[in-house]
């Protein structure tokens, strides 16, 4: 349906030291439960098609993945159109287990921040050690980006995928635009 639009409809800014792009709709399911239990683990892995990540890690291939959110919470990623089916599947497999699974795809906005300066652009906004030796592919971080909550990981070697709340999408985009402003290379990493 053409009337389904993500928060910023894939707005892009490419004139800075890194590229900022809202990637459009990404399916997301919040799954809360005992992440050590087989029921919860397989509910997540069956839908995402990836292995369970370790704490503070993410396993993500294209639009499918699992992000470790907390000791009792996972964020399961899948293509937007498949969320309803996957939720049903998940609830079926969790039948009897105490768990909560809920569609949060529309509650979020997702950005890619990419390019050789992506690390230092993000390091202007998040209080996280983003040195290449420290923040590596596979790591997942829930933090804040300036004044709003954000979660992010390295989706590709030079690309951070960043999740924010949908209502703050415009702020996040404007913020990233400031962080990548021309001439603002830091040269730290």
């Amino acid at each position: 349906m053409s009337n389904i639009v993500s928060a910023l409809n894939q707005k892009t800014y490419a004139d800075g030291i890194a590229e900022v792009r809202e990637i459009g709709l990404q399916g997301m399911i919040t799954l809360r439960g005992d992440t050590a239990s087989t029921a919860v683990k397989s509910a997540a892995t069956d839908v995402a098609g990836v292995d369970m990540p370790a704490p503070n890690q993410v396993n993500c291939v294209d639009q499918r993945g699992i992000c470790w959110m907390s000791p009792d919470e996972l964020l399961v990623l899948c293509p937007y159109e498949t969320v309803a089916d996957n939720l049903a599947k998940m609830r079926k497999s969790l039948d009897g287990a105490h768990a909560l699974s809920v569609d949060v795809s529309d509650a979020r906005a997702v950005f890619d921040l990419s390019g050789p300066h992506a690390r230092e652009a993000l390091a202007k906004l998040v209080p996280v050690d983003l040195s290449p030796d420290v923040f590596k592919e596979g790591m997942f971080r829930r933090s804040r980006m300036a004044q709003v909550p954000a979660a992010f990981w390295l989706h590709a070697p030079d690309t951070f995928r960043i999740i924010t709340f949908r209502s703050q999408a415009q702020y996040a985009f404007d913020l990233l635009k400031v962080a990548v402003q021309p001439g603002s290379e830091v040269g730290f990493f």
């Binding site: 050690d129 983003l130 702020y171 402003q181």
Partner: protein, 1006 residues
């Protein structure tokens, strides 16, 4: 006069001239100049007027410690006051104006204050302007405000941008002099991640000026080689023009990088504030030379001895043709020698000491033909806007003039104080070094981290090691220690610091007043704090008047309270204080060192947070539509909600009235997406919600909704909203717009800290849904036009909800009403929100649909007597105050707030109760007005008996309506209360039922 020398200037690029203006006058300098050196090269010694007495002031120092050389820099959007000339790098087109004078720098009317100075001693303002009180506000303060103050405030919006940067490292070395370089090298050799930052544009600090040799070569060679070695290491980051501003707990450091101040045409941010987490911090911040306290030591041309040789060596500038050096130590002899080598005249060195034999430096000076007068000092400096000579006296005497020596510069040195600021910021203690007469870091009392171990180490001169060889070995050890403390192993057995040699120096002798027996006349012209105009006599007066604590004396005299934070004046001031109190200096102690080391820009502190991203505005999926359709915005938390949709030719009030009438008569649409939505799920969810809400939620049937109240543990109302039961184990709780995150956290806190065995999970899904309220007599008709699900009274009764489709959208429809009208709230995934809104607007077009804003929502609910969290509640109101007893379950054993509501004060029958208020003449009561009662209280204030909590003009009733809390309100129906307004009028209102409209509730129930 001061001028440019034909030779010298190690920091200059003489092939590139740079032009600038000072007070409108065109001047030129070279690339590499600071504004200070360029001004001196243009014979501009006078750079400003002092704060209190408007005395002429000249450049004293050559670095961050400069107290006098502050200018208004730049124009328009780049204007900035109080910029230090010694740390401002010269660039083409620089525009500077001197400050704190009127009408001109050369002729300043305010200088009359100086003539009055003996009538304006320490505490003058406190003493003089106490009485009569009203004069303070209307006469004294305006006068002082005009007289005081330094630069002008910027008038335009800042043209530049700023940013923050989060960096992490093992070892952070602050200061890029030889100590910092050696410490960084020692730390980096262990493999630790090292950052080395330097506040100026140059590595090496002042060691290259002061001479000596490192590994048999000039210091410059060592600096170049070490910088090159560090640059080649992957684990080292070197940054210049970056000042360590503050050291905080847990190895947190703020550093201030000035990116484009020296080249304003560069693109990119102007300043970057680094927020660094370091495993260990090395403060290699050097030392600052102290002035000497003699009469006239503030006359332009009196400078620090080290600054004089900096200008000669670094910038090829002669501060004057004839310089008298006055000192209590050997170090200042370097200045005399440097001046001689530059071909300038040094008529005499006045050395306050009496040495048994000539020291090596003294001998060198004498060999150059310089006259050295031991045991002598300055009685007074002659001159007004420029030094013309010195009157020489015996240091041991009272200032009798032995001879006068004409000169145009006085180079003074009272010894050196280690820069201990960063060491001290986070609790590092100091110890008194008797030999140097200075406070230095106490290595046994370093700032400590959570593990009780030191996380700051001082290195080089900052640690008290003032001589080159000591500096290097001390710094090497500091660097190694810092790296080891972060878990790195040093490959070295012992110090790998290179050998250094320098001319030996004889001990200094402390001199706090010159001459030591100076009388009051001399003491009241001997300046301690140049920027705040504090003299020796002021500190002595403070001591005499009982200000014995150094912190009190500081505040009474304002010593060290100016923008330079007393970098030059602190030690001299507290030495004078100690002397007055007859106690040793360590007993007096120092005042507190607080960040930042030197002022940093407000822009850097704000970082990116300005303009569009000043605040994270939250937008609903329909935000843009509202914006395009006349929405006037109301901030609700960080959300923006339409207050009203104003049409052209209409006032905001008109719009609100129109929307309110139309919603009652036809059809209104409200964007309700901002209301919080929290999913609560689990076998114990019902039990949990019975605790969270005052009323019973576990008995709610799936498919049904119930209005609920939430209280805190004291019983006060904190939130309300409609709860829908989704299935056996799942509830959806609506919260107020501002309450979603707060209530979600409240639930999590109880689940995690009190009831962790209960099987309940919660999730905040507020933003997953766009929610649209379709309200009014024609609401059902509108939904039927969309079609897809049965929305009839039979299929979807009042307080029911159902999933279905409307116009092809998968929706969840709640039949709930906050308006007293037939009303549906329709939820769709947020990304379809705008499409559903459009579809509803289209079908509503023939039914008179109008979107309505929050003010209409307020009036509609007030007409119905529905309470609003934040209007009827203010954190001190319990549900019982609002007549909501029906929503407080009597069947439940417990809920949060139950016990609180049973406390004696909460069951007090005199608590004010909610009632409706109807003005006698139909006018609208002022918001927040109090109802007056007879008599006065203990404070002589009028007694009150109630207050207005919500008040509006109701277009449907065509009169003012209000709600309020009133003493015994519900028992006083029909009584008329008086509400004095702030407009001088008295408003009369009758106590009525708070339900003004459709009291039987027939309208929503159709």
């Amino acid at each position: 006069m001061s001028t440019r020398l034909a030779t010298g200037g190690r920091l200059l690029n003489k092939s590139r001239a740079v032009s600038f203006t000072f007070n409108g006058q065109h001047m030129t300098g070279y690339e590499g100049d600071t504004l200070a050196s360029a001004l001196l090269a243009n014979d501009q010694m006078l750079v400003g007027r002092s704060f209190k007495y408007h005395r002429p002031r000249g450049i004293v120092a050559s670095g961050a410690e400069e107290p006098n050389g502050l200018v208004n820099l730049g124009l328009g959007g780049r204007f900035e006051p109080n910029q230090r000339v010694t740390t401002t790098e010269l660039f083409d087109g620089l525009t500077a104006k001197s400050q704190n004078h009127w009408p001109s720098l050369e002729f300043d009317v305010g200088a009359i204050n100086a003539q009055m100075s003996r009538f304006m001693p320490a505490g003058f303002y406190y003493k003089t302007f106490m009485y009569p009180r009203p004069l303070w506000k209307h006469v004294y303060e305006p006068f002082i405000r005009k007289a005081a103050g330094l630069g002008a405030a910027p008038k335009e919006r800042d043209d530049d941008t700023y940013e923050h940067f989060y960096a992490f490292c093992d070892v952070l070395v602050i200061g890029g002099g030889v100590a910092g370089l050696q410490a960084a090298k020692a730390a980096a050799d262990t493999g630790a991640r090292v950052m080395l930052i330097e506040q100026t544009a140059h590595w090496g600090g002042r060691a290259p000026v002061d001479g000596g040799e490192i590994a048999g070569k000039p210091v410059d060679n060592y600096v170049d080689e070490t910088v090159a070695a560090l640059e080649a290491m992957d684990n080292v980051t070197l940054r210049r023009r970056m000042m360590g501003a503050g050291v905080y707990d847990h190895g947190y450091v703020l550093a201030y990088e000035r990116l484009t101040d020296h080249a304003p045409d560069m693109t990119g941010p102007r300043h970057r504030l680094w927020r660094i987490r370091a495993g260990h911090i090395v403060t290699a911040t050097g030392a600052i030379e102290r002035p000497l306290s003699f009469a006239g030591n503030d006359i332009p041309g009196v400078m620090l001895a080290s600054a004089v040789r900096d200008y000669v060596t670094n910038f090829g500038v002669s501060p004057g043709d004839r310089t008298v050096v006055v000192t209590n130590n050997d170090n200042a002899y370097l200045t005399a020698i440097a001046l001689k080598h530059a071909g300038l005249d040094v008529p005499a060195i006045l050395d306050a000491r009496v040495l048994p034999t000539d020291s090596a430096l003294m001998a060198q000076a004498k060999a150059l033909g310089i006259r050295v007068l031991m045991g002598h000092g300055v009685s007074t400096v002659m001159g007004g806007k420029r030094v013309t000579g010195v009157a020489v006296c015996s240091q041991a005497g009272e200032g009798s003039i032995l001879e006068t020596i004409p000169c145009d510069v006085v180079a003074m040195s009272g010894g050196w104080s280690p820069v201990v600021h960063l060491w001290s910021h986070c609790g590092g203690k100091l110890t008194w070094d008797t030999a140097q007469a200075a406070f230095k870091p106490d290595v046994d009392k370093a700032p400590t981290g959570a593990d009780g171990k030191a996380f700051v180490t001082a290195a080089g001169s900052a640690s008290g090691a003032l001589l080159l060889a000591d500096v290097l070995s001390n710094a090497d050890a500091a660097g190694q220690a810092a790296a080891t403390s972060t878990g790195h192993k040093t490959a070295r057995n012992a110090s790998a610091a290179p050998e250094a040699s320098h001319t030996p120096e004889a001990p200094m002798a402390p001199v706090w007043l010159m001459p030591q027996g100076a009388g009051i006349k001399l003491r009241s012209k001997a300046w301690l704090d140049y920027q705040n105009d504090v003299k020796v006599s002021d500190v002595q007066l403070a001591a005499q008047e009982g200000f014995h604590s150094v912190e009190h004396a500081k505040r009474y005299t304002t010593l060290g309270m100016a923008t330079d934070q007393g970098k030059l004046s602190n030690i001299n001031g507290l030495a004078i204080l100690s002397d007055s109190l007859n106690q040793p200096i360590p007993q007096t102690g120092t005042t507190t060192f607080r960040p930042p080391y030197t002022p940093i820009s407000m822009g850097a502190i704000g970082g990116e947070a300005r303009g569009d991203v000043f605040q994270p505005i939250r937008r609903t999926p329909m935000h843009d539509w509202h914006d395009e359709n006349g929405a006037e915005w109301e901030p609700v938390g960080h959300w923006r909600r339409p207050y009203a949709y104003v049409r052209s030719g209409e006032s905001t009030h008109d719009a609100v009235m129109r929307e309110t009438k139309n919603t009652r008569e036809n059809l209104g649409m409200l964007d309700a997406s901002t209301l919080g939505k929290i999913i609560v799920r689990g076998p114990d969810a019902g039990k949990f919600l019975d605790m969270m809400y005052t009323n019973m939620m576990s008995t709610l049937k799936p498919g049904k909704c119930r209005y609920g109240l939430m209280c805190d543990e004291n019983g006060f109302l904190i939130d309300d909203g409609v709860v829908a039961r989704i299935d056996e184990h799942t509830w959806l709780c609506h919260t107020t717009t501002g309450g979603a995150e707060r209530i979600h956290a409240h639930m999590e806190e109880w689940l995690q800290t009190e009831w962790w065995t209960w099987q309940v999970y919660v999730a905040n899904v507020t933003e997953q849904y766009a929610q649209i309220a379709v309200v009014g007599p024609k609401a059902r008709e509108a939904l039927e036009h969309l079609g897809g699900m049965d929305v009839s009274a039979e299929a979807l009764g009042f307080m029911d909800w159902a999933d279905g489709t409307l116009g092809g959208f998968d929706v969840r429809v709640y039949r709930i009403s906050f308006s007293g009208e037939l009303s549906y709230e329709i939820a769709v995934p947020a990304s379809k929100g705008q499409a559903l809104w459009d579809a509803l607007m289209a079908v509503g077009a023939g039914l008179g649909v109008m979107p309505y804003g929050t003010e209409c929502l307020h009036i509609l609910r007030a007409e119905k007597g529905f309470i609003m969290i934040g209007d009827e509640t203010d954190g001190t109101v319990i549900p019982q105050d609002l007549g909501l007893h029906w929503a407080i379950s009597k069947k439940k054993d417990d809920f949060i707030g139950k016990r609180g509501q049973e406390r004696s004060h909460m069951v007090d029958p005199t608590r004010w109760q909610l009632v409706g208020l109807e003005t006698v003449d139909g006018s609208t009561l002022p918001d927040g007005a109090y109802a007056s009662a007879e008599g006065t209280n203990a404070n002589g204030q009028r007694e009150t008996q109630g207050r207005v909590t919500s008040t509006y003009h109701s277009p449907n009733l065509d009169r003012g309506i209000a709600m309020g809390l009133v003493l015994n309100g519900p028992d006083r129906m029909g009584e008329v209360l008086t509400f004095p307004g702030t407009d001088g009028k008295e408003y009369k209102a009758k106590i009525v039922s708070p339900v003004f409209y459709d009291p039987e509730g027939e309208k929503p129930n159709v």
